[in-house]
């Protein structure tokens, strides 16, 4: 049973492993070539992953949530986009290295649009890569492609932001025991919860949002009442031992 679970969790690894085994039997020289091809990427990963590990930890420990919200949040505007573009452009490593950083920023309040900007610019805009492009394809080719790509990245960010809501993203809460959230698409913005408990809710545009603060035994009861009173049942209160919506 345990082995089956482990296999399920590492489905991709298991399938790839199987393909290699079959390839070694059928065409050993192709299998060796594939391993050789992988070596470069393996080295690249080993060089970059420890840095990503340090960065995610430092963002979590050092950078306050308010700063992320202000710099990269829903209302950071064009300045937030520019900052995201800069952050993505000065990075190093392949796009998968950007995934943990992007996820960490999302969890700390960055908008979907800005995370798209960071991921895309991380993948495409790299100074060593641009230099390489000038060398082999000319400055004009690089310059035009760069300008068009920047425009494309901003357009994609806006479109993705419209289409994908934060509820669609698999984010973990800061505190796994107690979790208070408002389902964005359900909230009608009546402001009842904000009037009842201004310490826990605030209006953000025409929707209510949760102010992040610890819930203890006493406040839990008050919060549960707001969840029950909410006319569109948008407030979700998850407790470890019980689930109330």
């Amino acid at each position: 049973m345990k082995i089956l679970n482990l296999m399920k969790k590492n489905m991709l690894a298991a399938v790839i492993g199987l393909v290699y085994m079959l390839l070694f039997l059928a065409a050993p020289e192709k299998a060796l070539l594939s391993l050789n091809n992988s070596a470069y990427y393996l080295k690249e990963m080993l060089v970059i992953l420890p840095v990503i590990f340090l960065f995610t930890a430092v963002i979590e420990a050092l950078v306050p949530k308010e700063l992320i919200l202000r710099s990269f949040g829903e209302h950071s505007g064009i300045k937030g986009n520019m900052l995201a573009l800069l952050l993505g452009s000065i990075s190093a490593g392949p796009i998968y290295a950007a995934f943990p950083i992007g996820k960490m920023l999302l969890q700390k309040g960055a908008s979907v649009a800005n995370v798209v900007v960071i991921l895309s610019s991380w993948a495409v805009i790299k100074i060593p890569m641009l230099a390489n492009e000038v060398k082999f394809l000319g400055a004009e080719f690089m310059g035009v492609r760069w300008v068009l790509t920047v425009f494309a990245i901003f357009a994609m960010a806006q479109i993705t932001d419209r289409l994908v809501k934060k509820d669609d993203l698999p984010l973990e809460s800061q505190d796994p025991d107690i979790q208070l959230t408002i389902r964005e698409s359900y909230c009608i913005g009546c402001g009842l919860c904000v009037r009842m408990l201004p310490d826990f809710y605030k209006m953000d545009g025409n929707r209510a949002v949760v102010i992040d603060r610890p819930l203890d035994e006493n406040t839990r009861v008050a919060v549960r009442i707001t969840a029950e009173k909410c006319p569109s049942k948008a407030i979700m209160l998850h407790l470890k031992e019980e689930k109330i919506s």
Binding site: A13, I16, N37, A57, I95, S120, I127, D168
Partner: protein, 160 residues
């Protein structure tokens, strides 16, 4: 290691030192959280890297070169964008390859389409992206990147 990766390392180490000096406990608990997050990614990253090795064996750069140089620009552009989405060729291989084609007289539209999807669209890294950001986000980001890569390529054909 190139200078940018070195710089990245230096900044990361410096920030970690600052974080440790400021609040040792908080830093360690943040590291624990990061470890959990990265740990669950690691097996998939390694699997993906070996998958890239396989893809490069069966779709070698020479094959892509043949498609990119095809005389029908529309078909060449679409196959170039498709090949760029599937493969992950390092930049120092991709640029000389595409450069030599363009110098030999190939159209720049498929060349630009290939270079843009190469880095922005990741079919191979899709499982990883799906796990971190959900299927909806990943589908839209990769789909939009593909469409915009084609647009960029077409516009480049008009401008240059």
């Amino acid at each position: 290691m190139d200078i940018f990766t070195l710089g990245f390392w230096a900044v990361a180490l410096l920030l970690t030192a600052i974080s440790l000096a400021k609040n040792k406990q908080k830093t360690f608990s943040a590291m624990k959280k990061s470890k959990g997050m990265m740990g669950s990614m690691l097996s998939q990253i390694v699997a993906i890297i070996f998958l890239i090795g396989l893809v490069l064996t069966f779709v070698p750069p020479e094959t892509i070169r043949a498609y990119l140089g095809s005389s029908n620009t529309a078909i060449a552009t679409l196959t170039a964008a498709g090949a760029g989405s599937i493969t992950l060729i390092p930049a120092f291989v991709a640029f000389p390859l595409v450069g030599s084609l363009v110098h030999a007289g190939a159209d720049i539209v498929p060349a630009a389409a290939f270079l843009t999807t190469l880095t922005m669209v990741g079919i191979v890294t899709f499982p990883l992206e799906k796990k971190e950001f959900g299927i909806k986000f990943s589908l839209y980001r990769n789909g939009l990147s593909f469409i915009f890569a084609l647009l960029i390529a077409l516009l480049m054909g008009v401008i240059l």
